[in-house]
Subunit: 227 residues, 6 copies
Amino acid sequence: MYELGVVYRSIARADGQVADKLGEYGSATVHEAMGRTGLMKPYMRPVYPRAQASGTAVTVLLQPGDNWMMHVVAEQIRPGDIVVAAVTADCTDGYFGDLLATSFQARGAKALIIDGGVRDVRVLEQMRFPVWSKAISAKGTIKATLGSVNIPVVCAGALVNPGDVVVADDDGVVIVPAATAAQTLDKAAAREANEVQKRAKLASGVLGLDMYQMREPLQRAGLRYID
Amino acid sequence: MYELGVVYRSIARADGQVADKLGEYGSATVHEAMGRTGLMKPYMRPVYPRAQASGTAVTVLLQPGDNWMMHVVAEQIRPGDIVVAAVTADCTDGYFGDLLATSFQARGAKALIIDGGVRDVRVLEQMRFPVWSKAISAKGTIKATLGSVNIPVVCAGALVNPGDVVVADDDGVVIVPAATAAQTLDKAAAREANEVQKRAKLASGVLGLDMYQMREPLQRAGLRYID
Amino acid sequence: MYELGVVYRSIARADGQVADKLGEYGSATVHEAMGRTGLMKPYMRPVYPRAQASGTAVTVLLQPGDNWMMHVVAEQIRPGDIVVAAVTADCTDGYFGDLLATSFQARGAKALIIDGGVRDVRVLEQMRFPVWSKAISAKGTIKATLGSVNIPVVCAGALVNPGDVVVADDDGVVIVPAATAAQTLDKAAAREANEVQKRAKLASGVLGLDMYQMREPLQRAGLRYID
Amino acid sequence: MYELGVVYRSIARADGQVADKLGEYGSATVHEAMGRTGLMKPYMRPVYPRAQASGTAVTVLLQPGDNWMMHVVAEQIRPGDIVVAAVTADCTDGYFGDLLATSFQARGAKALIIDGGVRDVRVLEQMRFPVWSKAISAKGTIKATLGSVNIPVVCAGALVNPGDVVVADDDGVVIVPAATAAQTLDKAAAREANEVQKRAKLASGVLGLDMYQMREPLQRAGLRYID
Amino acid sequence: MYELGVVYRSIARADGQVADKLGEYGSATVHEAMGRTGLMKPYMRPVYPRAQASGTAVTVLLQPGDNWMMHVVAEQIRPGDIVVAAVTADCTDGYFGDLLATSFQARGAKALIIDGGVRDVRVLEQMRFPVWSKAISAKGTIKATLGSVNIPVVCAGALVNPGDVVVADDDGVVIVPAATAAQTLDKAAAREANEVQKRAKLASGVLGLDMYQMREPLQRAGLRYID
Amino acid sequence: MYELGVVYRSIARADGQVADKLGEYGSATVHEAMGRTGLMKPYMRPVYPRAQASGTAVTVLLQPGDNWMMHVVAEQIRPGDIVVAAVTADCTDGYFGDLLATSFQARGAKALIIDGGVRDVRVLEQMRFPVWSKAISAKGTIKATLGSVNIPVVCAGALVNPGDVVVADDDGVVIVPAATAAQTLDKAAAREANEVQKRAKLASGVLGLDMYQMREPLQRAGLRYID
């Protein structure tokens, strides 16, 4: 499935401003705007609370217990990028720590998304370099086998193409294809505008049953009330 | 097992003051006072640290990936209630977010306990609307299939009848049947009073071995000390 | 595998100052200094954020759902010790709460590492008594069956001999055999000194590819760059 | 939640013939006939392939790592019963082996459903005594703490009242309340009759799309075909 | 990420004879021939022992707890196809049973690969219709929400394009892109030819250490022998 | 914790006849004879049904995704040995397949116990070479990093010293230290002799309540019968 041992240097990144704005709407709204697709598995969690990031994906494929390609992907980072790291097999080793975070941050990376483990999380929080990962583990890795950089990867159940928009926060990680990022932004904006009004109504005590006119379809579906 | 498509409007709630006081003792003490039963599975975790809540249960049965009945249960909430949501199959989707939280809070709900996923956790913390859940996920849900409201449900391994007392904190979620809530409160109070003294003794360096007079039964059970 | 019903009172503890210094380097550095061995499974997590501890191991073997031996081990604690609790079968019950923490702390224990559950985590944080555990659960335990104290135990996948050094923080829990603690400290110090320089270089934008001279071995392994 | 230390000797069992017939339809059909409720979690698996059983539930509540009550429940078994064992906390210990199976079989039990572990599975298969369990484990248990017999229990996520019908096979374990067993049998029979015709049509190449007249609702929902 | 509500009728299938031959080599050999990529997660297991299948992928994207699209994909099956079903969220419901199996088999499908649950496994074995799934569950599903047919899907961690070759057996499920299927077949054949000789040597007592000439590199890596 | 890069050639094996006889009693009886210790985690399962083996342990420590040391351990196998393979981190890769099985079998190995994955399970069954593993996976491994052979290892939660007795069957894997193997055999024999009588009594309808004289202690513990 994967092309191994290759680094693509030229990738078509989504518009950075679109990525920034999608981040403001958050993963839940963006995920809805995409028709409820594009979400990574919920086991992907931020390594410190209230982390938030959005940017353009630079992808890397790692081998289990081997972080050699993390150094290769570092060179391909441009300011505004988020590194998305997939692994060819399940492995919770700590592929990434404070040294690589220093390097990634120096290159302009905004975050790391990794379907594996990371370490030095106390320092990562101090550096404000956010990471979403499957695990936290002090276990180090070797540098022996090639993977690839900037190929399409499957990370935590989501397909990520280099250049796609990544939106990550407390609720999870969503991938927006570069080609539909602008259109998704419009939908997210419309959705959000709509929600402001709804929130005010609900806060005043109006029920969703009435606001969304659900009483009639619920009755039609057979819902019975018993006193 | 479950009666589907039905909403019970009249339920016998446990005494709200008893629920409040049980909350002050916390889930660990209440669980002990019940003979070590009534606890939900430990995978139920608060979505933000140090959340605490107690109240009377309003129950809702959801279908996987479908939050239609959350709007139906909102109407049945009275001040002091905690919504307990069970799902007919394992599913980590985000059934609940900031809009429903706004509605629940406006109706007087004190918390949500859900054997599924929730989203917008950053906003939930800002609103101080505590939720105990199995997962956090940006994944939205549909509104297509009926469940029920205020029927007995099994939530995270515990049987919950509408009106039961719910005690939730960092240590987990305990369900106290309405019929035995007052009696459980007495036992919890006795237990707690007892613990204050014990804590002081242990802090002064007295060993549990001596305080609980365990040396003799341990010896009888065959414990050997080797220098 | 285990000798049951026995308490060893005389154990050879590693040097407490070495344990303190190893703690300053942290679990990730110490784990590397040991050739990437000695780490417990990554499911072992601190019950409150940013907990850190190092000390000498006092071990206890528990039976599932039974914390009787926790009172027995309390008597064997000396200032600077960390209690390491293994269980003969997987069980998430809450074997340890604020009373035992009070007792352990009064005896001079610095932390608890337990391959099971704990409770009263809010109070544990207030007491600043750190615990690394597999689970948090309000579920209490009985006192009916003997285990042992200060025998070698397997805890979360790691072999722990009484007297070994325990280093625990956000990244995990590492066990350093008493016999090699001093030597491991030297290696950790060398490693850390080395990292300060590396960090500065990486922060200035130098790539790991160049700093570690990886370009040539990567090319030899067949890595291809495509524009 | 649970009443501890009590054995109910008189329970109202569902009709044994109804239980037998429900078993012939199998868990999937019965589960559908109940409106898709009553199913235990799918981690409950038969300990040998192609096991099948149905009968009336005799319930037992066990404490973790303790099988004392298994001997108490043995006395309450009548021919045609299936023992349903719940545990107050997650535990994979082997609570049941060839000796208890011999005893249960001698009393007329048809099967065991246990939300825990069992052992001697080779002998269980030779005896043709089917068990559905969460785990297989050689780990033995103690006899120290009381549970209860013939109280309502939550087993693998399903509420089981003594006397309910249990239907278990390769597809899982379904609980049918005694009160609705006859009615569920009628629905299952109707469903099955209906399926015979459908199967023949589908085998002849007719599509479900046409047989269930789905083309029009799919089109209305917006399904588009692209060549 | 996913285009919803769409059915692609024209897909470019890999050569059926190549698919057949790849199946003869088995998933482990094919996976190696692809540079150790393309394997689904190991939680995908056959529902009956010793199942084997290979064919060309017809893909379907399902919504959690909803098998409506299974009827839509049935129409797109051609003899020699294997249906690969992904779900937009984790869900163990039984999306597929004997009726759909009858329909799929009548259309010429050779197997089903599904990142969810199935039921009627006894009948599936009798029909010799093999299925690889994440779970077995009697839990039925609804028909309410659109997914898609013959779009690229991520199934159990692997990217599957319609027309790709699927190789499935006891060891797992491997996806071979249509474009590289012939080339992968050559590599698998070469590998297999090579293994026949190796097997004979090893059976005669020759060590891999000598056959693969590992002694020298092991020594260079620092391996020490101690008597 | 682990000494890396070393192969111990001289190990003290337990008596092979004792190992054979312990195997006849099975893992459950042996585990009981050891005071209910020495059992590996229940996730260790035979790769084909009804596998049974006992022998003397030859240990190997592997690195994640790397099976280089499997070739090194092959040379240390003597007839009657069972290879016990631990991994320094959780990894489900397939470290072992038909070629290595051929080699191990040629050297006289009776089985493999591995806290990781294996492949070619169809062939393993045909060869009657039993394996107990954590996973089955077609995923291959590399040969890049040293582990060790015949050092003490922790495998699936159990400490295994080279030369210990391994007893494995459907119920799990038990490790008996070489030093206490003969004594454990005596206890297992006594236990088994005892069980034959018990089984006959229970088969005749005598209750465990009476046979074990449990009625009085149950009453003392407070058990109440309600009609």
